[in-house]
């Protein structure tokens, strides 16, 4: 019988199943951070339970951690308590922690692949919705709630209803593969299928335009699967996948054997029917800019802010929500995107903070200066990314251009640390969510690619980055 890649991974992880009931699924990798885990460890303590497989679990601090000098104490007391709580929990339960001063610290979805912890064909969970990032390696990787974190800690399994399969066929060739990025591809997809288009489904991205992408670009695509309502999105592994994971710090010793097996099995069989299918062609894709307060409210950089009626297409709820979004964003329909003036630029987050993102952004910035009206910052996704960038001299390019060059963490993607927007500030951000107040109460977020953010920082407003390269 022909099967999808997802079905194969699912089947090989079923511990127990019964018709019309959820299946008990084995979890190969459990990643933990400070925000969604303390209540789970408390639960274990109350019931006198232990962590079943500490050897399949790793932890890091990313959400709360300041991106300024790490030798200084953390001033926010509640952040500091949450970080200390994780340190205590990891010590008490025997879990490996990449803490504040570790060379491996970083955003959990960035370090997983960098350390070779993320592997094809595995099940990976984390109490964070952007765990879907790691689906780029052909894994079933998805975000879970804190109760589920506790469940995985105690049992290394989860009860899950089997999601349906959704094929996203990405055809064609980008006209300017430097200026048109994988961020523009995924924003175009969400713009069309909507923020709940993938609900109840696992997305599989396929087609020549996907396999044309590097591993880091593929991660950007899978990362935003959750913004289309899908808990997970994945891409079949190929030579690029196997090369990426080779010789990483935690790459398994029997890696070559595993690769042989993955090569043979981890793909969707030909002629397999998906439950749902969507096709997009990337030939004509332009740089994308979000204008509203959810990631489907997006347009081309060459367009103008849409009228709510036009966006809502006759659906009253959609029209209402577009009106509310434009009021929050303080934008008028008909305004060209390139006339939107910016106060802040943020290059970072689990969507776009990897070394290739920084190399590309630096290419735009080189020899130029940030507009005097803009405060711009670069937050590498991990200490490993930061050190690699510094080895390449990229930090100097950003610093010379008046960007702030920071330590690694989630930072202004969600502003749990001191990196936040002030009320009314407008930001071009390479992150994943433009929700109200996401980057700071009253802050206004426009989602874009790293090269679009970099060019906007220089110009002080959005520009069509294709004209710059």
């Amino acid at each position: 019988m022909s099967e999808t890649l997802f079905e194969k991974i699912w089947k090989s992880h079923v511990v127990k199943e019964k018709e019309n009931e959820p299946s008990l699924i084995y979890i190969d990798r459990h990643l933990i951070h400070e925000v969604t885990s303390p209540q789970a460890f408390n639960g274990l303590r109350i019931d006198k339970r232990s962590v079943r497989r500490p050897d399949l679990t790793i932890a890091t601090v990313d959400h709360n951690i300041p991106t300024t000098d790490r030798s200084l104490p953390i001033l926010d007391e509640t952040s500091s308590i949450q970080i200390q709580t994780l340190e205590t929990n990891c010590k008490d339960f025997g879990i490996k922690l990449f803490g504040k001063n570790s060379k491996n610290q970083g955003i959990v979805h960035v370090i997983g692949p960098q350390l070779g912890i993320t592997l094809p064909g595995t099940t990976i969970v984390c109490g964070d919705s952007h765990t879907s990032t790691q689906g780029a390696f052909g894994a079933f990787a998805f975000g879970i709630g804190t109760s589920e974190v506790e469940h995985v800690l105690a049992t290394q399994t989860l009860w899950l209803e089997k999601p349906k399969s959704f094929e996203i066929m990405v055809n064609g060739k980008r006209k300017n593969s430097f200026a048109i990025t994988s961020k523009d591809i995924i924003l175009s997809i969400i713009r069309q299928i909507g923020t709940d288009g993938g609900a109840g489904h696992v997305l599989e991205y396929r087609g020549e335009a996907i396999f044309d992408l590097s591993m880091e670009q593929r991660m950007t695509i899978c990362n935003m699967s959750i913004e289309a309502g899908s808990r997970a999105g994945l891409i079949a592994p190929d030579e690029k996948t196997f090369d990426y994971l080779k010789n990483r710090e935690f790459t398994p010793k029997n890696y070559d054997e595993l690769v042989d097996d993955w090569n043979e099995n981890l793909h969707t069989d030909s002629n397999t029917q998906f439950d749902k299918s969507f096709t997009i062609n990337v030939d004509q894709i332009a740089p994308q800019v979000s204008w509203g307060t959810n990631p489907s409210m997006v347009c081309d950089v060459t367009q103008t802010i849409p009228f709510p009626e036009e966006f809502g297409n006759g659906v009253s709820n959609q029209i209402k929500s577009a009106e509310k979004a434009l009021a929050y964003m303080d934008l008028k329909p008909g305004t060209p995107i390139t006339e939107i003036q910016l106060d802040r630029v943020f290059i970072g987050s689990c969507t776009n903070s990897r070394i290739e993102d920084l190399i590309d952004a630096a290419e735009i910035v080189k020899g130029k200066k940030v507009s005097p009206n803009v405060r711009a910052m670069v937050v590498p996704g991990s200490q490993m990314v930061k050190h690699e960038a510094e080895k390449l001299g990229i930090d100097k390019i950003f610093i010379d251009a008046n960007f702030e060059w920071r330590e690694s963490g989630c930072s202004m993607c969600l502003g749990m640390n001191p990196d936040i927007l002030k009320p009314g500030e407008r930001c071009a951000s390479t992150s994943n969510r433009n929700f109200e107040g996401r980057q700071g109460v009253g802050g206004r977020t426009h989602l874009v690619s790293p090269v679009m953010a970099a060019s906007a920082a220089i110009a002080g407003h959005f520009v069509d980055v294709r004209e710059w390269c």
Binding site: I81, Q82, I144, T155, P252, N254
Partner: protein, 194 residues
């Protein structure tokens, strides 16, 4: 977990689409290390002015809905971040039933782990509730919602129903199968991380 019983009372109509969990509990309140006390942060930025006074036009601040245990929402409620804090806040505030046309996957799953019954209903029915001011009865045992003496049935997976009605602990249930987990582990080929 407490056993779920029949809920009777007025509803809070909240006619909005794509309400994300960043709105349900903003990030500045995710730093607590316990599960309790999140009710005061529910919809914080929509509920309070900068000086901490109540925003008059926000639905939860309408005294008419004080004590309501049933929230009626529109499509894709709870999208975005996986934060279970959103569900802890709704529960702590007093909601034990949420009726909507659709829910985001992780949020929906989180509800049932915390004794909240999330019910998916057809659009017409949900929209009729937005203007309904009487009492509603939500009867999980019989899978029905009673409006004006009219019964509307709802669908729910039987395992979710059973776990809510019995207040069962998921981990206890799973550990009953520990021997099966052990034998599964013996055949695994994916090595440990460390």
């Amino acid at each position: 977990m407490e056993k779920f019983t029949k809920v009777t009372g007025i509803i809070t109509p909240f006619d909005k689409i794509n309400v994300d969990t960043d709105q349900i509990v903003p990030k500045q309140f995710l730093k607590l290390v316990q599960k309790t006390g999140f009710g005061k942060y529910l919809f914080y930025n929509w509920r309070f002015e900068d000086d901490g006074t109540l925003k008059k036009d926000f639905i939860l601040n309408n005294e008419k809905f004080n004590g309501s245990k049933i929230l009626v929402t529109n499509e894709n409620f709870g999208c975005g971040s996986s934060r279970e804090h959103a569900v802890w806040a709704l529960k702590d505030y007093g909601f034990s039933v949420i009726i909507g046309t659709s829910f985001a996957d992780i949020f929906y799953s989180n509800c049932f782990k915390n004794g909240i019954l999330a019910i998916k209903m057809p659009k017409d029915f949900v929209e009729s509730l937005f203007t309904y001011e009487g009492n509603l009865v939500v009867d999980l045992q019989n899978q029905e919602i009673i409006v004006n003496n009219t019964k509307e049935n709802f669908e729910i997976k039987q395992d979710k129903k059973r776990r809510l009605l019995d207040g069962l602990d998921d981990i206890d249930l799973t550990l009953d199968s520990e021997n099966i987990i052990e034998s599964f582990e013996k055949n695994r080929t994916i090595p440990s991380i460390i």
